[in-house]
Every structure is written in structure tokens, then in C-alpha cells.
């Protein structure tokens, strides 16, 4: 792949999209969607991060070696989150029961 120069028009378009998504995430936070508030907040943040990685950081125009490193970073983060949470979430029941017995946790 020869060197790819991204034009300023693309950068400005990405910037405007990021602004719109920022406004959307603030607006969505004021609507009560229960458990879905956090899902929407993270989905919008991930969409913004993807735009930054693909265009501002030129990942779209980078060789596959670079893609592999980016995917590995996300994958390692996912391992940490998934394995740690799988431990805590499966213990949650015991913790809640103990809390009721000893009154340690608030609610």
C-alpha cells in the first residue's frame, strides 16, 4: 500500500459526526431507559472511538499487521473484563445473601 493522505474534508466530516454523537449521548442520558442507558452510552462511545481509530488514526488505510495489534488490544481488554466479571457475577448471590445476614451492604 502506498502512503495514503487523508483529505481535510474527511477529517472535518469525522469531527462533525463526533460532535453530533456527543450531543446524542448527553440527550440519551436524560431519558430514563433503565438498564439500557449504560448500553446506549457505551454503544455511542464505541462508535465515536471507532471513527477516531479508523480515520484520525488512519487505521482504515493501515496494513493488516496494524489491524492485528488493534484487535489484539481490544481482545486482551475483553479477556480481562470477561474473566474478572465472570468471577464476580457468579459470586454475587453469595455476597447478597451474606449482606442480608450481616447487614453489611446497604440494599
Amino acid at each position: 500500500m502506498s502512503e495514503h493522505i487523508v483529505s481535510p474534508k474527511v477529517y472535518i466530516g469525522i469531527f462533525l459526526s463526533l460532535m453530533v454523537l456527543t450531543a446524542a449521548t448527553v440527550a440519551a442520558a436524560y431519558v430514563n431507559l433503565g438498564a439500557f442507558n449504560i448500553v446506549i452510552a457505551l454503544a455511542i462511545a464505541s462508535l465515536k472511538a471507532t471513527l477516531v481509530v479508523l480515520y484520525f488514526m488512519h487505521a482504515r488505510y493501515s496494513p493488516n499487521r496494524t489491524h492485528m495489534v488493534i484487535i489484539a488490544a481490544v481482545f486482551w481488554l475483553a479477556i480481562m473484563l470477561a474473566l474478572t466479571l465472570s468471577d464476580y457475577v457468579t459470586r454475587d448471590r453469595d455476597l447478597a445473601e451474606n449482606a442480608q445476614v450481616t447487614g453489611m451492604l446497604g440494599s
Binding site: 500500500m1 502506498s2 502512503e3 493522505i5 487523508v6 483529505s7 481535510p8 477529517y11 472535518i12 469525522i14 469531527f15 463526533l18 460532535m19 456527543t22 449521548t25 448527553v26 442520558a29 436524560y30 431519558v31 430514563n32 431507559l33 442507558n37 452510552a41 457505551l42 455511542i44 462511545a45 465515536k48 472511538a49 477516531v52 481509530v53 480515520y55 484520525f56 488514526m57 488512519h58 493501515s62 496494513p63 499487521r65 496494524t66 495489534v69 488493534i70 489484539a72 488490544a73 481490544v74 486482551w76 481488554l77 480481562m80 473484563l81 474478572t84 466479571l85 464476580y88 451492604l105 446497604g106 440494599s107
Partner: protein
Amino acid sequence: MHRTGELYGQFETLEQQKESAALGMWVFLSTEVLFFGGLFMTYTLNRHYYPVAFGVGSNTLDLKLGGLNTVILILSSLTMAMSVWASHVGKRKQTAGFLVATLLLGTAFLGVKVIEYKQKFDHHLVPGYHFQIDYRVQHPAPKDDPKEIEAEKEELNKAFAKDPDLNAHAQLYFSLYFGMTGLHALHMIVGAGMLVWLIRQSMLGRFTPTYNTPVEMIGLYWHFVDIVWIYLFPLLYLIDRHR
């Protein structure tokens, strides 16, 4: 002697040389993902266990200042990207100009952060011996809107009813707030230092269409720091705005 982008012996082509630099930078950034990842993990667990305290803590943050900082930081990413473009097409003055704009916006971000931290010190919301989640409603300042204080008092009463240990659990939120935004601010300060060096180099005319690797690499770092904030903003400021 300074680099001009000549081919080093271990590479076959200039393209390969540039791609190797970018690959190394991405490997470094992947370690940074996990560096911040530990804090995000801690945040997730504590928010899961103490949702009431995290909601109350989040609502004490100034959404206007947080939103302003989000705009400032994304704008600084744009100027950084523009500087990379200018160096690629050989516009030396614009390269330096966009770098100066990036540095100014980064400094503005840190300035807003100082204002926010100052508020938290004033309201006794810094974890430690003097931490008191209801300090502001107990000691309202003359300029505070009485209606706002009344609403906050009501919110705190409800929160204390749900979580009697609210004061302790809110400290967890603020420990994470200062830890995460502090580590992010530290990255901004390091980035600002690198920008100062880049601006000097670009004014000396060191960057040309054939050699602009430092602009690109520091650009990658700057955009990464922007991405961290893109996640921090909703996770810290927007937990419980809907009521």
C-alpha cells in the same frame, strides 16, 4: 545531526520503515489500553455494587464543564489530524500552526479540569478524612440557588435511605473520578510536552512530505488520549442524569 527520513540499513524500503514505526506505536498504545483497562474494570465492579452512590457522585459533576471539555478535546484531535495532513503535503507553516492550536486546546482542557477539581475541593468531595457527600447542602454558599440546594438535599435523603453507608461508597466513586481523570490528565501533560518539542522541530522545518514520522506518531498518542476521554465522559458524568 537530525533525522531527515533517510532509509536505515535494516529496512528495505521507506514505506516499510514508516510502517514499522507505526506498528511500534500501536503496540505501545495496546499496553496503554490495558493500563487504563484496570481502572475501567475497577469502575465497573464498584458501580455494579454501589449504583446509588455512583449516581449521586456523578450528579455532583458539572455537565457543562464536562461537555465543554469533550468538545475542546475532540476539536484538538481535529487540529492534530490537520497538522499530520499539512506535514504530508509539505505545508510547513500550517503544520506548526495546527500543532500550536492543538497545544492551546490541550492546555484549555487542563484549565477547565483545574476549575472542576477546585469545586470538588471546595465541596469536600475529595476522598479522605474531610470527605462529606452532603457538605454542600449543609453549608450552601450565598451564591448557590436555594431551589437547587433543596433538590440536592431531597436527592441525598433518598439516597441515604437506600444506602445508609452512602458517604463511604461515594468516596469510591470520587477515588475513581480523581484516579481516572488524573491519569488521563497526566497523559495530556506528557502529550503537551511532546507537542512543544514538535512545534519547535516543525518551525525549524524538519518535517517534509518524505519525513513526518514524529508528527504522525505523537498524533496517534494524542488521538488515543482523546478516545480515553470519549469513554470517561459518559461513564463519569452521565450515570444518573434522568430523573
